[in-house]
């Protein structure tokens, strides 16, 4: 079965998207059991999701299995501008990041292979109509689905390694904003939509898992950067004012969004057979994201003018959006650390409960916050439970509540940083993510 076929088999569940649940526009909801434990996983062998958290740990997962998980991320955001009106809220949306894993290997064998699909990056936000930042952004929907093919090998009963091919199997972006021009006729404000699909591209991940005793395990893993490269995306324009059409001729755009590398290191202790506690740190190499650059091309004809009695026909200058053929916006992200702690307790052979939490530091620096990623340091608390039916089937439930620290920037900050393409004010976001997963072991 190919990765693509599996993706299709995953069907509707695998429309991966979310309000970013981790620093920058990451989504850390890639294993339902892990979700209940504060997102730890690099030093654990809970289930087939190990191939995401640490490919090296997959060989140590005892059973073969297939599992799916789906989450309902409910983001709530409030914004108060520095000057002018009062609080504006997001138009509420529900997004559903999902994950799928299958791992196979010979019983009691030393190796294992796995395939998986998950959604490590994404963001969907719809700001209120007429909010103060509408000329920077009104809507964003960034989606990505990664597919992964992993092989893992246990060198000794204590030490295993693994590596995988990671593929950006599907990615798309939809960015919308209003244009600050007013029509005589009282027509609606002109509106731009940039919509494009990313080219498929490849990366890798690798990991080492070491379990010197029944009571201790450590793991490290790394996933490489994958670039979401969009070529020939669509520029869609609404309500362009006729006399300004010459500045809005673009039909297509290209842009590249880096989906950065992540390094993880963690430790797990198992004081009893029933209890597992794990702590880990993640370092996301966000500093690769310096600028967001668009290049525009094509000619939609809005700048063309027919000949008149005194003037010849005019063909508009192609590839302009707002009078410019390129745009560059400063992002200047910084590498971001996250610290996670989680545990699980087997109440009975069939029933397991989990809890955890994390502190995730912002990738976006002060004075650089954009409406597309209202990033901030955030605290997450999680809970989860699993119930297994006859050692074969199981259901996982997880819940995450994430509280972003309040983030303010003033117009002075923006002027000092040269980032006046965004809006001054205070953001506050919370996200609640209930999730459920099903698994089969054999």
């Amino acid at each position: 079965m190919t990765v693509k076929r599996l993706l299709l088999a995953g069907g509707a569940l695998l429309v991966g998207t979310s309000a970013a649940s981790a620093s920058g526009f990451q989504v850390n909801l890639n294993g339902q059991k892990n979700n209940g434990m504060g997102g730890v996983g690099v030093a654990l062998t809970l289930d087939q999701a190990a191939m995401f958290y640490n490919p090296g740990a997959l060989a140590m997962v005892r059973e073969n299995g297939v599992q799916v998980g789906v989450n309902a991320a409910i983001a709530r955001n409030a914004f108060i501008p520095e000057s002018g009106g009062g609080q504006s809220n997001l138009r509420n949306t529900l997004v559903t990041p999902a994950n799928f894993y299958a791992g196979f290997g010979p019983k009691e064998g030393k190796w294992k292979i796995g395939i998986g699909a998950y959604t490590p990056f994404g963001s969907e936000l719809h700001y209120a109509d007429n909010w103060e930042g509408r000329y920077a952004l009104t809507d964003i929907n960034l989606r990505s689905i990664f597919a992964q093919l992993t092989a893992s090998y246990a060198i000794t009963p204590q030490l295993s390694v693994g590596a995988g091919l990671v593929m950006l199997a599907y990615g798309d972006v939809d960015l919308q904003k209003d244009v600050p021009l007013t029509a005589q006729s009282g027509a609606p404000t002109p509106h731009v939509t940039l919509n494009g699909k990313a080219k498929q591209s490849f990366g890798y991940n690798a990991g080492i898992y070491f379990k010197p005793s029944d009571k201790l395990a450590v793991g490290v893993s790394y996933r490489s950067q994958v670039d979401a490269k969009i070529e020939d995306g669509d520029v869609r324009l609404r309500d362009v004012i006729y006399s300004t059409g010459g500045n809005f001729t673009a039909k297509n755009f290209s842009a590249t969004l880096p989906l950065p590398a992540v390094a993880n290191a963690g430790v797990a202790i198992m004081p009893t057979e029933k209890l597992t506690i794990s702590a880990e740190a993640n370092l996301v190499f966000w500093s690769t994201y310096r600028t967001l650059d668009f290049t525009f091309s094509g000619n939609n004809g809005y700048g063309d003018r027919p000949a008149t009695g005194t003037t010849p026909a005019v063909v508009g200058t192609p590839g302009l959006l707002g009078g410019s053929s390129t745009s560059s916006a400063k992002r200047y992200y910084q590498d971001a650390l996250a610290f996670r702690l989680g545990g699980q307790y087997k109440v009975t052979d069939a029933f397991t409960v989990r809890a955890g939490g994390f502190y995730d530091m912002a990738a976006v620096k002060d004075g650089y916050v954009t409406p597309e990623t209202p990033d901030a340091d955030r605290i997450g608390l999680t809970a989860g439970a699993s119930y297994e039916f006859g050692k074969r089937f199981g259901i996982d439930a997880s819940f995450l509540f994430e509280d972003f620290l309040k983030r303010s920037q003033s117009q002075t900050d923006l002027l000092n940083n040269g980032t006046t393409d965004r809006v001054a004010g205070t953001y506050k976001t919370t996200i609640a993510v209930p999730g459920v997963g099903l698994y089969v072991k054999f």
């Binding site: 309902a72 409910i74 709530r76 955001n77 409030a78 914004f79 108060i80 501008p81 000057s83 002018g84 609080q87 809220n89 103060e132 930042g133 000329y135 920077a136 600050p180 021009l181 007013t182 029509a183 005589q184 006729s185 004012i241 006729y242 006399s243 300004t244 003018r305 027919p306 008149t308 005194t310 003037t311 005019v314 109440v347 009975t348 069939a350 029933f351 809970a383 989860g384 439970a385 119930y387 259901i395 439930a397 997880s398 819940f399 509540f401 117009q411 923006l414 002027l415 006046t420 393409d421 965004r422 809006v423 001054a424 205070t426 506050k428 976001t429 919370t430 609640a432 993510v433 209930p434």
Partner: protein, 465 residues
């Protein structure tokens, strides 16, 4: 399923729904509106066209409604010590377009500013001309009369076109007795000269009450005064050409007359320094789009496109020789556009007339005088313990780098810059909102009040067809 699982799984789901519907509410930590020591219960604005809400070459209800004094009154009211009402001399609904205003219209597929006139039926605008004319010169201008404003004396006393020299019948002090007598008499009869002043005066006051006396009738608790612009601007926009015999107010006002007139204005409105307020000074008129939109380089390029041998743009100046090729140091007026389009300026025998050109020496004379008059304004403000809004510096900054308002870059570029209206001199509603915010900043800094600023993006820029 055992007991605990049966209960914890639905409990988790319930927790999800509860927390998921939890909308964060931000505590509004912005300072609460506070008038501090100020009392805005009777706010009066003294000034010229900028104060009246003049835009696009005319005074009309839409922009008058968002004049900077109207925006200030609205923001003052948020302190709880603001005016219950702020009266502006609006035109009647059926004549809401007042003196008429320039519009962008499509000419051969491109937007071009078109001036309203009787010939084009005032572009369909509902203008307020009565068909009568003001009294003929002398002591009158013979200009078309506008519909009279019949309400109580307004709180916005801005009169388009008025200067310090024309506001005070005792100001003119050039030392030339004949000229001073004419200028003073004309200022006294200003209600028969300026149709915008005439329309707000009661009939009995027309031609007999000067502006200083008129504003002295008000009893404000707070005022703004932005006067003096036309003491340099009228001269500048006419290309530094003036005829004091036909219009005694068309020159650069001398410092003695200005000082006398300005002090009388401040004394009248501040009740001899007992009422708090703000004085705004004169922006650098050569930085406005009126002088920076039609450039020598662009006109020369247009001539070259028609005739490859064209050496450049020929202009008439006050220097010698009187006709010469223009350089990048010469500024052309916005109104020169229509003239050069007909080929004027393309040859030494058909030079661009002086009224469309400011040469380097004229620019120096205007900026030097602006500085001198601003010194008088600053000194008068200081002596009366009034705040000073340095609009000269403020507009120089805008000309240099624009002003960004919530991700929108507003500049001093003609039309597309959002700030200046189609006459190239007066702000758009967006521009007036930015000006109001500067007044608010100065008032808060000087008086320790917390008047909230406005969001300029809620006010429009230029309207495009």
């Amino acid at each position: 399923m055992n007991f605990s699982a049966k209960h914890s799984l639905p409990a988790l789901a319930l927790l999800g729904l509860t927390l998921g519907s939890c909308q964060p509410t931000l505590e509004d930590t912005r300072p609460t509106a506070d008038a501090g020591q100020l009392n805005f219960s009777s706010y009066v604005a003294v000034g010229n066209s900028l104060t009246s809400g003049y835009s696009d070459g005319g005074l009309y209800n839409e922009v008058q409604a968002v004049s900077y004094p109207a925006i200030l009154a609205q923001q003052f009211a948020k302190t709880g010590k603001g005016p219950a009402s702020f009266v502006q001399p609006a035109f009647s609904a059926a004549r809401k377009d007042g003196s008429g205003y320039i519009k962008l219209q499509l000419v051969n597929g491109a937007a071009a500013p078109v001036q309203p006139s009787a010939a084009n039926s005032f572009l369909g605008e509902q203008v307020a001309y009565t068909g009568n004319n003001l009294p003929a010169p002398p002591l009158g201008s013979g200009q078309p009369e506008l519909e009279a404003y019949t309400g109580a004396q307004p709180d916005n006393l801005g009169v388009p076109g008025i200067s310090v020299l024309s506001a005070d019948r005792t100001a003119s002090s050039t030392g030339n007795a004949v000229l001073d007598a004419t200028t003073r008499a004309t200022a006294g009869a200003y209600g028969n000269v300026n149709p915008f002043y005439q329309r707000i005066l009661p009939a009995a006051d027309r031609g007999v009450k000067d502006y200083v006396t008129y504003i002295g009738q008000k009893t404000p608790t707070f005022f703004t005064c932005w006067m003096g612009n036309n003491d340099v601007l009228t001269y500048a926009t006419a290309g530094a050409t003036s005829s004091l015999t036909t219009n005694p107010f068309s020159g650069l006002t001398d410092t003695t007359s200005f000082g006398r007139g300005y002090r009388n204005i401040i004394n009248a409105i501040s009740k001899n320094g007992t009422v708090k307020g703000v004085c705004a000074n004169i922006p650098n008129v050569t930085a406005i789009p009126y002088f920076n939109t039609v450039t020598v380089a662009a006109v020369a390029a247009a001539f070259k496109a028609q005739n490859a041998a064209s050496p450049g743009v020929f202009i008439t100046t006050s220097g010698t020789p009187s006709v010469r090729l223009a350089t990048s140091a010469d500024l052309l007026t916005l109104t020169a556009q229509a003239v050069v389009a007909t080929g004027v300026g393309s040859s030494p025998t058909n030079p661009l007339p002086s009224q469309y050109v400011l040469d380097a020496s004229e620019i120096t004379a205007i900026t030097t005088r602006t500085t001198q008059l601003n010194n008088i304004i600053a000194k008068t403000a200081r002596q009366n313990k009034l705040a000073l809004a340095d609009m000269n510096t403020f507009f120089n900054n805008i000309a240099a780098q624009g002003v960004v308002t919530n991700a929108v870059n507003n500049t001093a570029t003609f039309a597309s810059g959002n700030l200046f209206s189609l006459d190239g001199v007066h702000p758009t509603p967006r521009g007036y909102a930015v000006v109001a915010n500067e007044f608010i900043r100065v008032i808060n800094a000087y008086y320790g009040s917390q008047v909230p600023s406005v969001a300029p993006n809620n006010y429009r820029g230029v309207l495009f067809p």
